[in-house]
Amino acid sequence: MSTPSMDVRYVAQLARLNLSPDEAERFQAQLEQVLAYVEQLEQLDVKGIEPTAHAVPRSNVFRADEESSSLPVDEALGNAPQRLNNLFRVPKVVE
């Protein structure tokens, strides 16, 4: 882990999150402080330690392969900010 070098603007862009200049400045300072705190994890030797992704590891959990009802299309689209027929409407993506 090197010295914190996060570019808040760039990372926010990756997260599809627009920031105002004021926010970018504030978050940069605050998050550098948080990263400096997180740096303490470097003190530990974690060689050979398996990572924990879930506290209660369960894998390949399947439900019974039985047909069942699902949300009707109209209800699934009930919260759509904009819809067109049975679709969510968004700005044009492909020219």
């Binding site: 105002s20 303490q40 974690v46 209660v56 009930g78 900010p81 968004v90």
Partner: protein, 484 residues
């Protein structure tokens, strides 16, 4: 006697015996809410008509379920069909749940009536409920102070008798810490004990739903109702659900009580320490055997948490993009503009910070250094508990290092806010269960403030927690009336 002061179990009993109707209970709470909530502001909305209508229906049925006709309160991050669910965020403005969360289904099956939505930190990110996009909630014991968070609305409502009991969610302490600082009982069940289907996800490897109640019996009653396997949540465990209320009466003779030295470190408020140590003595007198233990990786828990929880949150919150539900920015020029502005307008500062941090620790070049390393330290923290539970049956710690702090005190210092969860976070990382119970109030100048005591149990150790909480409650007498 005023009905609003009843516990959940007492209210259920009165309905069963037909001494009161469900409508009586709902009306009593509505009166109380009108009187107190303008000051406390625990609710985001109270569905008066809807609650009364549910109650009328319950009154026409013959009581069968354990909560027949009894109103309960939900944190604003659980879906209940046809009602709003906003996670305390503007980005879910206007969203109506198209389906029921499993916990809602189970409460409904038990006969419960839904009262409304409790305020919370936006997307459960916070320890003070100040991060709600709607308004801050006040601590009923001192209106200048925070009710804890993120389930602060639930705890404040229960503590001021505006609700008999509630369900919150706990990712790093969000049930236990508000319960502690408001003087309630709050239980975070073992990871996998309660289905999260229909809970809006924050950090999926840590989130659990659990009760915030007036006493341990009510917490047992609610857990009994909501626990158990659910095929719709692949992390839910198939283990049978024992009779939790039975455990309350079993006593603690011979139980080994572990006291981890790392939780009594500098930074612990002297009054909190004094009350917690007094509780240790009382538990010894009840027959518990004291064992000194060590959880050596405790100091790293907050750092691990803020890497893992933000990483998972950044992924989970990607779905709030203005496409399928909630807020959408006006007149976007293209799809990127739609995403970027929708999220800029919809999320508050703490959520933005965490999305950025989470995106960063998962990004190429930093994944190993931050995320993978944090997951490895998480293993060390889990092992600490594994070792400790060989020596003891439960662990005792403070729930929060301090009583409730003042509104605004930590609002501009995210790191200080994160440290408010220092005693509760490790349980989520390890997936074990924990309960906070009141152990008294502070004295001296200023208003008395409740202090919480935390018992941690091993995975699926809820019965042990209820044994200890039940026994302790019998000897810990304190005035739980905040005087509102």
């Amino acid at each position: 006697m005023s009905l609003h002061t009843l516990t959940l179990a007492q209210a259920a009993e009165k309905v069963r015996r037909k001494e009161v109707s469900s409508v009586d209970l709902v009306k009593a709470l509505l009166v109380r809410i009108r009187e107190v909530d303008p000051r406390v502001q625990a609710f985001l909305d109270v569905n008066e008509e809807d609650a009364l209508e549910q109650a009328r229906l319950r009154d026409r049925e013959s009581p069968s379920g354990a909560l027949h006709g009894v109103p309960v309160l939900l944190k604003d991050n659980m879906n209940r069909r046809g009602t709003f669910c906003s996670c305390g965020s503007k980005i879910l403005n206007g969203y109506r749940a198209p389906y029921n969360a499993t916990v809602v289904e189970r409460l409904e099956k038990a006969g419960a009536v839904f009262l409304g939505r409790a305020n919370m930190d936006e997307f459960a990110m916070g320890s003070s409920t100040e991060n709600s996009a709607m308004h801050a909630t006040r601590n009923p014991w001192d209106l200048e102070r925070i009710p804890g968070g993120s389930s602060g609305g639930c705890a404040a409502a229960v503590a001021s008798d505006m609700a008999f009991g509630s369900l919150g969610s706990d990712t790093g302490g969000s049930i236990r810490q508000p319960a502690a600082v408001c003087g309630c009982v709050g239980l975070k069940p073992t990871y996998g004990r309660v289905s999260r289907y229909g809970l809006v996800a924050f950090a999926s490897s840590l989130d659990q739903i659990g009760p915030i109640t007036k006493d341990a019996r009510d917490a047992a009653l609610l857990l009994q109702t909501i626990a158990g396997h659910d095929p719709r949540d692949s992390t839910s465990l198939p283990d049978a659900v024992p009779d939790y209320s039975k455990a309350l009466e079993q006593g603690i003779k011979g139980l080994r009580m572990g006291l981890p030295k790392e939780y009594f470190a500098p930074g612990l408020d002297p009054q909190v320490e004094k009350l917690v140590r007094a509780a240790v003595e009382e538990l010894r007198q009840l027959g518990a055997e004291l064992v000194e233990i060590s959880l050596p990786h405790t100091p790293y828990a907050v750092a691990v948490y803020y890497v893992i929880a933000t990483a998972e949150a950044s992924a989970n919150l990607a779905r709030f993009d203005g496409v399928r539900y909630g807020h959408r920015t006006s007149e976007p020029s293209d799809l990127l503009d739609l995403y970027g502005r929708t999220r800029a307008e919809g999320f508050g500062p703490e959520v933005k910070r965490r999305i950025i941090l989470g995106t960063y620790v998962l990004s190429s070049g930093y994944y190993d250094a931050y995320y993978l390393r944090a997951q490895k330290v998480r293993t060390l923290i889990r092992r600490d508990f594994g070792e400790a539970f060989k020596k003891c049956d439960f662990i005792l710690t403070p729930t929060s290092p301090t009583p409730a702090f003042k509104l605004g005190e930590k609002a501009n210092d995210p790191l200080q806010m994160y440290l408010a969860d220092i005693c509760t976070i490790a349980a989520n990382l390890a997936g074990i269960c924990g309960i906070s119970v009141p152990c008294g109030r502070t004295g001296g100048a200023g208003k008395p403030l409740p202090v919480g005591l935390q018992f941690l149990g091993p995975s699926m150790g809820e019965e042990t927690l209820f044994r200890v909480a039940g026994a302790y409650e019998q000897v810990c007498r304190w005035d739980r009336n905040p005087g509102l």
